[in-house]
Subunit: 154 residues, 2 copies
DNA sequence: CTTCATGCAAATAGTTTGCATTCTT
DNA sequence: AAGAATGCAAACTATTTGCATGAAG
């Protein structure tokens, strides 16, 4: 199976469903997004998209990512305020995050306890829960090691 | 005891400690902040500060709030992406939030389970935890009622 | 009298939008 | 041919900064 076949089909299906158009640009953006790291900021995305097509403008990239979010191929985050980042969003992935404040690396986790907290709180406070955000910030294990082995700081 | 005496002293102490200056503006901003609701966005703060002093500019307000955050009198949030909001931050307050997506109201809670999740995850993933953010989004109880009783939507 | 803060305007950052042109269907 | 997408520049929002003037230590 060709790379990203599944995601391309998902995109095409979404476009057809919404009576939108299938364009080369949208597929270029999707491929650049998917072949990059699981988490990428807008500027990183712009850079890698433009490596494939210099003329592809940033508005198209913004608009495409919004589309990907709509059809579940991407998930938008604001871990560091002011810098949107997009995650490759698969089906059964965890929805909770550890963010390293030293190197910026994001790790995912999920814990049954989180589910329990949500249920308890929303029941007690009579709140109809729709979504949640759980982000733990700190220093990841590789950044805790001796200075020599740390990823570069910025 | 005069209103906000405790907070004014905390601010003055912080200023002295950092060899910064005690100014009328800073105290005006602090009073306007504290006499308002527990959560306020920047524009709301600007409005209520300028009710007390028309000439007090928004850069001073931004700079003051940053100061309050530094000395623990305020806590910065980004519940709705793109709209910073500041909380009156007391000592023993909970650190977890329920945000109503209909009326924007924020309720606080804390659960021992959250603590447990943090400990478990940071131990398992060898992560040195510094802070966390837990936000539950949904519809609060008053917004679930019959249409007539709902707070205005925007 | 030195250092810091203020107030204003301009700069910046990130993102969105308007519109003429071009591509899909 | 009709409707939608692109690419560009301009608009926008939220925030930060530079700098001359004024106030605090």
């Amino acid at each position: 199976m060709a790379p990203f076949e599944r995601e391309l089909s998902a995109l095409r299906a979404h476009l057809k469903r919404s009576r939108l158009k299938q364009t080369a640009q949208r597929e270029t953006v999707l491929k650049a997004f998917l072949e990059g790291p699981r988490y990428a900021t807008m500027d990183e995305l712009v850079a890698s998209v433009q490596k494939r097509d210099r003329k592809l403008g940033f508005s198209t990239i913004y608009r495409s990512l919004k589309l990907f979010v709509e059809c579940g191929l991407a998930k938008e985050h604001h871990f560091l305020y002011g810098k949107t980042c997009f995650e490759h969003s698969g089906q059964g992935r965890p929805h909770d995050y550890l963010v390293c404040k030293n190197c910026g690396k994001v790790e995912e986790f999920s814990s049954p306890l989180v589910q329990a907290v949500q249920e308890k709180v929303s029941r007690e406070m009579d709140f109809k829960l729709q979504e949640h955000r759980l982000e733990l910030y700190g220093i990841c294990s590789s950044c805790q090691g001796p200075k020599e082995t740390r990823p570069e700081e910025d």
